[in-house]
Symmetry: C2
Subunit: 347 residues, 2 copies
């Protein structure tokens, strides 16, 4: 049961515990043959350093905290972020502590700060929408708690972050719809406090303007990033005539909601209506027809974020503070060329 300690290894290898410590921590200035001798003893005994002791002595916990909104984020996103961070952790010898919470909770900031102190994590990873919670970020900075932000929009100079080109990806997707012959394009925006998602709206606007297409105000709907809100927006967009020939939604869930309503109303996809989403979640592959979407390399981003964090912890002088990842458009069956509505046979 009881694991061997550093003393056991030291005794076995006939060196001091400090030398064992050096080997374990890959410190320089250990002769090769000593290192091998110690390593051999470690292997023989199956020694694993006691993290608590190490933490206590080194005043570091080797723990990363991942704080995220569990009530508004899709589970696929959450899991991808977890995996990405985890991948970086295993490389750097960190362990991952998670702390789901509700971003609408009034005590949010206290909860995060409390968690940080209680669990003694060395640093935090903040996915959206927490990454744009200015007050929280300021508090963390004030308390010298290192953190990295995923897909932030504001105050980029102040901290570590990893981004995607949401805006230009949304631009590209909109252009793709325009190339397919659509000009009557509606947009379903996400939660307004989820700023990364609002960038997508801007990209849509950019594209429409660059193609000199009119943006009809009644074809811009604000959803809540959920399937149900997508349904609501879908009803509002599709019940009236004229209706758009294409709907671009700020995320896949809302796009699926729109598709669901379209099916119910007997509107064929993609013949009568093209639908595009964003995120390329599992849902995009699993809905019918399979949803055209924009793939964000969430996992790679999360890994890069954690990499950045660990690097900056190790070498605080490091100037490499951010990375930007490119999105990729995934064309599936929910989008197609326009057909004039009065040419269709279904109604």
């Amino acid at each position: 049961m009881s694991s061997p300690t550093i003393d056991d290894v030291a005794k076995q290898a006939k060196v001091s515990i400090k030398t064992v410590s050096r080997v374990v921590n890959r410190e320089p200035n250990v002769r090769k043959e000593t290192r091998e001798k110690v390593q051999h003893a470690i292997d023989l005994l199956g020694y694993t350093p006691n993290l608590s002791a190490r933490r206590l002595a080194a005043k570091r916990s080797f723990l990363v905290g991942l704080v995220y909104d569990n009530f508004h984020a899709t589970s696929a996103y959450v899991v991808n972020v977890q995996c990405g961070v985890m991948a970086s952790c295993s490389q750097s010898g960190y362990e991952l502590l998670i702390h789901p919470l509700n971003v609408d909770n009034a005590t949010l900031i206290n909860e995060v700060i409390d968690f940080t102190h209680r669990s003694q994590v060395d640093c935090l990873v903040l996915p959206p929408p927490l990454s744009d919670h200015t007050h929280l970020c300021n508090q963390l900075a004030a308390q010298n708690i290192p953190f990295v932000r995923l897909s932030p929009v504001f105050n980029l100079n102040d901290s570590l972050y990893v981004q995607t080109n949401d805006r230009s990806a949304a631009f590209d997707m909109t252009m793709k719809l325009i190339e397919l012959g659509h000009s009557d394009i509606a947009f379903v925006a996400g939660r307004p406090d989820h700023y990364a998602v609002s960038e997508r709206h801007l990209g849509f606007v950019d594209a429409m303007q660059s193609a000199a297409l009119p943006i009809r105000e009644e074809w811009i709907k604000i959803g809540a990033s959920t399937f149900d809100s997508g349904k609501d927006c879908g009803v509002a967009l599709l019940k009236n005539t004229p209706r758009p020939t294409a709907i671009f939604a700020g995320n896949d869930e809302m796009a699926a909601g729109v598709m669901s309503i379209a099916h119910t109303l007997g509107i064929r996809i993609p013949e009568d209506l093209s639908v595009a989403g964003f995120d390329d979640s599992d849902l995009a592959r699993q809905s019918w027809p399979a949803l055209t979407s924009v793939r964000q390399p969430v996992q790679a981003m999360a890994k890069a974020a954690a990499d950045l964090l660990f690097l900056s912890l190790k070498t605080p002088s490091n100037t490499d503070l951010s990375r930007c990842f490119a999105c990729e458009i995934i064309l599936r069956d929910s989008t197609g060329p326009t057909i004039k509505i009065n040419e269709t046979a279904n109604d």
Copy 2:
């Protein structure tokens, strides 16, 4: 930055550190007024015990490990389990350490054992399919690592566990289909090594037998619990005549795959074909038509599992070793009464 230590509190309250320790740990034999005095000092200074020191001294980490398969479980399930365990953690003062892995990995057992030692977690929560990995469970037991199993099927006497009545829920769902007039019912089974899911197959068989309906072997398909495998099974079931009038899938993903194929083949749901899933995941609400499914109280189960674990850690003599939760059938739009195929108009 640097938090106050127990020394600071002791000095502030003019008592020894040991007395502060007693108050913090709610130990007996502290006079009421002393306790209040100390508590006041703690509040004043905003003292939080240093977990690493506590762990080192008490030889406990106050950490729970959640090890799960990240490649075959749906993210919704994973997130629900995390939340449930988390809920129990916050009550009991534990923190949650996660460790996703691939169950197909040959080094699985070593990886879990390594993780346990490295991270020094006090105990583990094992969701399926790990909960039925007999070899792993034996290893953990042999190493005196406490753990609780979620939805296990085998060796129930040997350990803590939390279960659902998968089999009888599958029975009920099948009966529901039979009551709707279906007799030509197919079943899509999940990964054979995911035993909890196989129980659902047994429930299906139970119901068919109790209704004296024949089980056609070519209408039992073995999937891999994924959407794509559901599509494959759907093709196999729906391309030939006669085809079933209802398909019951072992999970929602596969059910969605079946629906997708049905749509492609022009088979209307539920008019021509009823489809039922299991798990009541987000996907069930988000697919079209909305999927009839069986709701497992995953989060409540995970919480109960962790509760059980913490209780048994505290009072090892405790005899309350397991709990069983009931599933609930959620009727949605993907199931309906049978209509004879030659009466339908669509083909």
